[in-house]
C-alpha cells in the first residue's frame, strides 16, 4: 500500500492511520476492505481475533498493529473498535502506550470507520478523523429518530443562477455535477468542511452538506443536477462558495 501525503510535502495535511479492532478477524478485515475502497492511500490495519486465530481480542495484536502504522510513517493512529473486549482491549493499549499520537475513537464500527478513513484520506489529523467517526455515528442515531427525517428533497428549486430567497428566509440554487468522477470521497470531504465553515445550515438535495456520509450517500455522478439550500446569517456566502466548488468540478477539471 502506498503512503501518500494527500497535499504533497508542502502542505500541512496529516498522515493518519487507522487500526480496526474486532473479536472477529474476518470482521476487522472486512471493514478494512470497505474503508480502503474510499481511502486507497490511508494505512489501514485490521487487528481482529486473538494471537492463535480465535474469536476475541489481544493486547499484543492491537499493539503490534499500532506500532506498524507508526513505523510506516503515520503521524498519528486512530483505533476503532466494535463491542465488548475489543473496545476495552483497545483502551488498555492506548493507556499503556501513553502516546498522544494514538487515540481510540468512539462510535459505530462500520460507519465510523468509513467516515474516519475518508477523513484520513483527505489529510485529516487524528482529531479530524475522530470527529468524522463521531459525526457518522450521530447520523446513524438520527436515522433512528422519526422526528428528524433525513434525505427529504426540497423541490421548490429555481434554475436561476442567483440565490433565491424563499419564504422561510432560506436561499437555494440549482447546480450540476461537472467533473467526470462525480462527488467521490475527496471532494465530498472538502465540500463537507466548506459547508461547515459558514454560519449557515446548508443542504444538498435535502441532506446536511456538513455530513460527509450524507453527501456520499447521495451518489452524485457527472451531469446530475442538485438543489443547494441554506439558511442562517451566512446563507448567501455559503451557497456561493458551495456552488462555486460544484461549478469548478471540485478542482478536478
Amino acid at each position: 500500500m502506498s503512503l501518500r501525503r494527500p497535499g504533497g510535502p508542502g502542505r500541512t495535511e496529516s498522515t493518519t492511520g487507522l487500526v480496526l479492532v474486532s473479536h472477529s478477524a474476518l470482521l476487522a478485515a472486512g471493514v478494512v476492505e470497505l474503508a480502503a475502497q474510499m481511502a486507497p492511500d490511508v494505512v489501514l490495519r485490521p487487528a481482529g481475533g486473538t494471537d492463535d486465530a480465535r474469536l476475541g481480542t489481544s493486547f499484543d495484536v492491537v499493539e503490534r498493529a499500532v506500532a506498524a502504522e507508526l513505523d510506516a510513517g503515520c503521524d498519528g493512529v486512530v483505533i476503532l473498535a466494535d463491542i465488548g473486549s475489543a473496545r476495552m482491549t483497545a483502551e488498555s493499549v492506548v493507556e499503556a502506550l501513553e502516546d498522544s499520537r494514538v487515540v481510540l475513537a468512539g462510535g459505530a464500527f462500520v460507519e465510523g470507520a468509513v467516515a474516519a478513513a475518508v477523513a484520513a484520506q483527505t489529510g485529516g489529523s487524528v482529531r479530524d478523523v475522530v470527529a468524522a467517526a463521531a459525526a457518522a455515528t450521530r447520523q446513524v442515531q438520527d436515522e433512528l429518530d422519526p422526528e428528524q427525517p433525513r434525505g427529504v428533497t426540497g423541490s421548490d428549486a429555481s434554475n436561476d443562477r442567483a440565490a433565491v430567497p424563499t419564504a422561510s428566509g432560506a436561499v437555494s440554487r440549482r447546480v450540476r455535477v461537472t467533473n467526470p468522477q462525480g462527488l467521490h470521497a475527496r471532494p465530498a470531504a472538502t465540500l463537507a468542511q466548506l459547508a461547515a465553515s459558514f454560519d449557515a445550515e446548508v443542504t444538498i438535495d435535502g441532506v446536511d452538506a456538513g455530513s460527509l456520509l450524507s453527501l456520499m450517500g447521495l451518489g452524485l455522478t457527472q451531469g446530475l443536477e442538485v438543489t443547494l439550500a441554506a439558511t442562517g446569517p451566512e446563507a448567501h456566502e455559503a451557497i456561493d462558495a458551495v456552488a462555486h466548488t460544484f461549478e469548478s468540478g471540485f478542482g478536478e477539471l
Binding site: T50, G84, S85, S92
Partner: protein, 212 residues
C-alpha cells in the same frame, strides 16, 4: 498461624492456586457464560491462567507487584474475551500499589481497592449491573472493615473472598446491564454472572494462598 505480612511467595502461591481453580471450574464457568454470554469465559480464563503460571514460573519477580504485573500483561494478551482487559487492568492497578517485598493487612485492602477501581475504569459498570463489580464491591468493603478491625492479611483476604462469593450469588436475580448479557435484558434473570463467579474463585485462591 497468621503472618502479619504477605510476600512474593504468597503472590506465587496465588498464581498456582488461581490457575488450578479456573482450570478445575472452566466447564462450569463456560456454562454460566453460555446461558447469558458467548460461552467462552471458562476456557478463556483457563488458557489465560495457564499462560500466567508459565510466565510467573519463568520470571525472577521479587515483589508482589512484580508478580501481579506479569499476571496482568499475560491475561491481556491471552484471554481473548472481556475478562482479559478487565482482569488485566485490575491486576495492573493492584500491581502499582503493591510493588513492595511485603504487604500488610491495610495493604491487602488497598490492593483489592485498586483492582476494583481498574475494573470499573475499564468496564464502566455500576453496582447492580450484574458484572464482576458486584463481586468485587462487597469484597473490598469486607476487606476494609476487616483490616480496620486489626485482622491479619489472611483474614482480610478470607473476608473479601466470602463477600465476593455472596456477591456472585446475589447477581442471580439481576438484569444484566453491561456486556453481551445486556442484549438478553430480562432473560438474564436467574443466571449467575460468570465474571462475578470467576472473581469469587480468584479471591478464594488469594485467601487460600495466604493460609498456606
Amino acid at each position: 498461624m497468621s503472618a502479619a505480612t504477605l510476600d512474593v511467595a504468597w503472590a506465587r502461591r496465588f498464581v498456582t492456586l488461581a490457575t488450578e481453580t479456573v482450570v478445575e471450574h472452566r466447564v462450569e464457568l463456560s456454562e454460566l457464560d453460555r446461558e447469558i454470554g458467548d460461552g467462552d469465559h471458562g476456557e478463556n480464563l483457563a488458557r489465560g491462567f495457564t499462560a500466567v503460571a508459565a510466565a510467573v514460573d519463568g520470571s525472577s519477580a521479587e515483589t508482589v507487584g512484580g508478580v501481579l504485573k506479569l499476571v496482568a500483561t499475560t491475561l491481556m494478551s491471552t484471554v481473548g474475551g472481556a475478562a482479559g482487559p478487565l482482569y488485566g487492568t485490575a491486576f495492573l492497578r493492584a500491581a502499582k500499589v503493591s510493588d513492595a517485598p511485603e504487604i500488610d493487612a491495610e495493604g491487602v485492602h488497598t490492593l483489592l481497592d485498586a483492582g476494583l477501581e481498574g475494573i470499573v475504569a475499564r468496564g464502566k459498570a455500576n453496582v447492580g449491573d450484574k458484572t464482576m463489580v458486584d463481586a468485587w464491591t462487597p469484597a473490598v468493603a469486607a476487606a476494609q472493615s476487616s483490616a480496620a478491625s486489626g485482622a491479619s492479611p489472611a483474614e482480610v483476604l478470607r473476608a473479601a473472598a466470602d463477600a465476593a462469593q455472596q456477591g456472585a450469588v446475589d447477581t442471580d436475580p439481576l438484569v444484566a446491564l453491561k456486556g453481551r448479557a445486556s442484549y438478553l435484558g430480562e432473560r438474564s434473570v436467574g443466571h449467575r454472572d460468570p465474571g462475578a463467579a470467576s472473581s469469587a474463585l480468584l479471591l478464594d485462591a488469594a485467601a487460600r494462598a495466604a493460609q498456606a
